[in-house]
C-alpha cells in the first residue's frame, strides 16, 4: 500500500517534470518559428552585399551597416509618409472607438422595434468584405467631395462604419450585456438620463474593453493598405507606400545599370526592402510593446466573447 502510493507520487512528479520540459521545448520551438521572419528581417536589413555572400556570416552582420536604411528612408520619403500615417490613423482610431462605444450601448440596452433587423445588418457588415462594395463608396466619396482627403476616413469612423467598426460594436455590446442592470436602474432612480448613465456609469466600467478595441483599431488602421490605397491618390500612409518600394527599386536599378538586375543587385534589393519593412513595423511594434501587458490581460480576463 505504502509502496504503491509512493510510486504513484514519484510517477506524478516525473510526469509533471517531463510535461514542463516538453512544454518548454514546444513553446520555444513555436516561438522561434513565429519570430523567425522578423529575426531574418532585422538581420538582412543590416547586411551589406559582401556580408550576404560571405558564408561565415549567418545571422550577425560584420558591422552595423546603415546604408540600406538610408536608401529605404529616401525611397519611401519616410518622414512624409509617417506624417500622413499619423494624420490618418490617430483621428480615425479616436473617432472609431468613441463612436463604437456609443453605438454599442444602443444595441445592448434598449428594447426597440426593429432592433433585431438592425442587428442582423450589423452581422452582415461584419461578414461582407468591404472590397466587395468599394466602387459605389468611391463614387459617393467623389460626390461628397471628400475623395483623396483624410476626411472620408474620419467620416466613416465617426459613423461607425470604419475599418472593422462592426466587429468592435459587436465586441463592446457583448461586454455591456455582462454588466448588471441594477447599476443603471440605480442611476436612473438618482435622476440620471441615459446619456449621463452612459458617460458616468457604463464608460468607466468597460475600460478593459475600450483598451482592447483601441489597440485592435490602431493596429488595423495602421496596417490597412487596401482601403487607403483605393480611396486615396497621393499623400499615402506608410502601409501603402511600402507596397510599391519593390517596383520603385526595380525601375531605379534598371535605370542606373541599363540592364537586367544582376545577382549582387538582387541581394542589395532584398536588404533594402528588409530595411524598409523594419522601419514600417517599428512604430506600431513600439506602441504595442508599451501597452501589450494591459492589452493581453484585458482580453484574457474579460473575454471578448462575453
Amino acid at each position: 500500500m505504502d509502496w504503491s502510493r509512493r510510486s504513484l507520487l514519484y510517477k506524478r512528479r516525473l510526469l509533471g517534470f517531463g510535461g514542463g520540459l516538453l512544454r518548454t521545448i514546444f513553446l520555444l520551438g513555436v516561438g522561434y518559428v513565429t519570430l523567425y521572419p522578423l529575426l531574418l528581417m532585422i538581420s538582412t536589413s543590416f547586411m551589406s552585399v559582401s556580408d550576404t555572400l560571405d558564408a561565415t556570416v549567418v545571422w550577425l552582420p560584420s558591422g552595423l551597416n546603415w546604408f540600406n536604411f538610408q536608401k529605404a528612408f529616401e525611397l519611401m520619403r519616410y518622414g512624409e509618409a509617417l506624417k500622413n500615417t499619423v494624420k490618418l490613423v490617430i483621428p480615425c482610431v479616436l473617432l472609431q472607438v468613441c463612436s463604437c462605444v456609443f453605438i454599442a450601448y444602443g444595441f445592448a440596452r434598449f428594447k426597440l422595434p426593429g432592433l433585431s433587423v438592425l442587428f442582423g445588418l450589423l452581422l452582415f457588415n461584419i461578414i461582407v468584405p468591404s472590397n466587395c462594395y468599394i466602387t459605389p463608396v468611391y463614387v459617393l466619396m467623389t460626390e461628397l467631395k471628400l475623395i483623396n482627403t483624410p476626411w472620408q476616413f474620419y467620416l466613416q469612423a465617426l459613423l461607425g462604419v470604419g475599418v472593422r467598426s462592426a466587429l468592435y460594436i459587436f465586441i463592446i455590446r457583448q461586454f455591456y450585456r455582462t454588466m448588471p442592470k441594477e447599476l443603471e436602474e440605480a442611476a436612473c432612480i438618482d435622476g440620471c438620463n441615459p446619456i449621463q448613465t452612459f458617460l458616468r456609469i457604463m464608460v468607466p466600467n468597460i475600460r478593459p474593453a475600450i483598451l482592447t478595441v483601441s489597440v485592435l483599431s490602431l493596429v488595423w488602421y495602421y496596417n490597412d493598405f487596401s482601403m487607403m490605397g483605393m480611396l486615396l491618390n497621393g499623400n499615402y500612409p506608410l502601409s501603402v507606400v511600402i507596397t510599391s518600394v519593390g517596383s520603385t527599386l526595380d525601375s531605379n536599378m534598371q535605370y542606373l545599370t541599363g540592364q537586367a538586375i544582376s545577382a549582387d543587385l538582387k541581394i542589395l534589393r532584398a536588404s533594402i526592402l528588409a530595411a524598409a519593412c523594419l522601419i514600417v513595423v517599428l512604430p506600431i511594434t513600439a506602441v504595442y510593446a508599451l501597452v501589450q501587458r494591459h492589452f493581453t490581460e484585458g482580453i484574457e480576463r474579460t473575454g471578448i466573447v462575453g
Binding site: 512544454r23 521572419p37 462594395y133 466602387t135 459605389p136 483605393m230 482580453i299 473575454g303
Partner: protein, 299 residues
C-alpha cells in the same frame, strides 16, 4: 394611470435608444446599404466614365455570363478561396487551442510567451509580411532559392529525410504541409487569445470533481475542456473563416481589387457581389451547424 406612466417612460427610453443608434443608422445606410444596392445595379450594367462621373447603361446579365462562361480564372479562384478556408480554419483552431492550453498554466516568462504569440497580429494584418515572404526571403542569399513562398522553411529537415531515402514526392507533400502550418501560425494570434480567455474561465471545481472520479487528462480534455469552451470555439471558427475570406491575400479579394484598379468597375462589382453571396452562405451554414453542436450551459 400608473400603466400609462410606465408606457410613456418606455417610449421615452426608446427615444434615447434611437439617439444612441442614430450615427450608426446614418453610417450603415450611406456606406453599406446604399453601396450594396449600387453594387447590384453596377453588376447588371456597363459603366463608362462620362463628363459628370459614372454613367451606367443596363446590359442584363452580361457581366455574370462573362464570369461564368468566358473567364477561366474566376471559377477556379472562387472555388479555391472558399475551399482553402476549411483546412486552414481546422488547423488554426487546433493550433490555437493547443497553445492556449499550454499557456494556461503558470510558468516563468508566461507574459513574454503571450506577447510573442500575439505579435504576428500586429504585423500580419499589414502588407509587410507578404513583402518579406515573396521579396526578401527568396532573394536573400541566405535561403538560396529564387522565390520562397513560405515564411519558414526547413531545408535541413528536408535533407535529413532525403538522406533517409524518403521518396521525393512524399517528401514534398510533407514539407508542404509543415510550411503551411508555419504560415498559419502567423494567422492565429487573436484566436489564441480568445481561446486563452475561454480556458481560463473554466471553473476549477469541474477539474476537481473529475480528479476525484479518477479521470485521465485525455478524458478531462474531451469531457470538460472541450464542451465548456465550445461556445468560444464557435466564435473562433467564424472569426477565422471571416478573416480568411476578407484577407488581402485571398484570391477573390485580389481579383476584386485588381479589376477596380484597372478601372473595370462593373467587373469588380460583379465579382464582389458573387463573392459576398458565397461568403454569406458559407458563414451562415457553418454557424448554423456549429450552433447545434456547441454546448451552451443553461443560464
Amino acid at each position: 394611470m400608473k400603466r400609462k406612466g410606465g408606457r410613456s417612460l418606455e417610449r421615452q427610453r426608446a427615444k434615447w435608444g434611437w439617439l444612441f443608434l442614430s450615427p450608426w443608422i446614418l453610417g450603415i445606410s450611406l456606406f453599406f446599404v446604399w453601396p450594396m444596392i449600387q453594387t447590384v445595379i453596377y453588376s447588371f450594367s456597363k459603366l463608362t466614365v462620362g463628363p459628370n462621373g459614372f454613367e451606367t447603361s443596363f446590359v442584363g446579365a452580361e457581366n455574370y455570363l462573362y464570369f461564368f462562361t468566358d473567364n477561366s480564372f474566376f471559377y477556379n479562384n472562387l472555388v479555391t478561396s472558399l475551399w482553402e478556408a476549411i483546412p486552414s480554419t481546422l488547423l488554426i483552431i487546433t493550433f490555437s487551442t493547443m497553445i492556449a492550453l499550454l499557456l494556461k498554466e503558470q510558468f516563468p516568462l508566461r507574459g513574454l510567451a503571450r506577447a510573442v504569440f500575439f505579435l504576428p497580429v500586429i504585423i500580419a494584418s499589414g502588407p509587410v509580411i507578404s513583402i518579406l515572404e515573396t521579396q526578401v526571403m527568396g532573394n536573400g542569399a541566405a535561403m538560396g532559392a529564387e522565390t520562397a513562398t513560405h515564411l519558414f522553411q526547413a531545408p535541413d529537415l528536408t535533407l535529413v529525410f532525403a538522406d533517409l531515402g524518403v521518396p521525393e514526392k512524399i517528401l514534398e507533400s510533407i514539407t508542404g504541409i509543415i510550411n503551411e502550418i508555419f504560415d498559419l501560425m502567423w494567422k492565429s494570434g487573436v484566436q489564441i487569445l480568445l481561446m486563452l480567455s475561454a480556458v481560463n474561465n473554466i471553473p476549477g471545481s469541474f477539474y476537481e470533481v473529475a480528479m476525484m472520479e479518477g479521470a485521465t487528462a485525455w478524458e478531462k480534455f474531451w469531457k470538460i475542456t472541450l464542451p465548456t469552451v465550445s461556445p468560444t470555439l464557435v466564435v473562433v471558427v467564424i472569426y477565422t473563416l471571416i478573416d480568411n475570406f476578407v484577407g488581402y491575400d485571398n484570391l477573390m479579394i485580389q481579383m476584386i481589387t485588381d479589376y477596380y484598379k484597372d478601372t473595370h468597375y462593373a467587373y469588380s462589382s460583379t465579382v464582389g457581389l458573387i463573392y459576398c453571396v458565397c461568403v454569406l452562405a458559407v458563414v451562415g451554414l457553418v454557424s448554423w451547424i456549429l450552433s447545434r453542436v456547441a454546448f451552451y450551459s443553461a443560464e
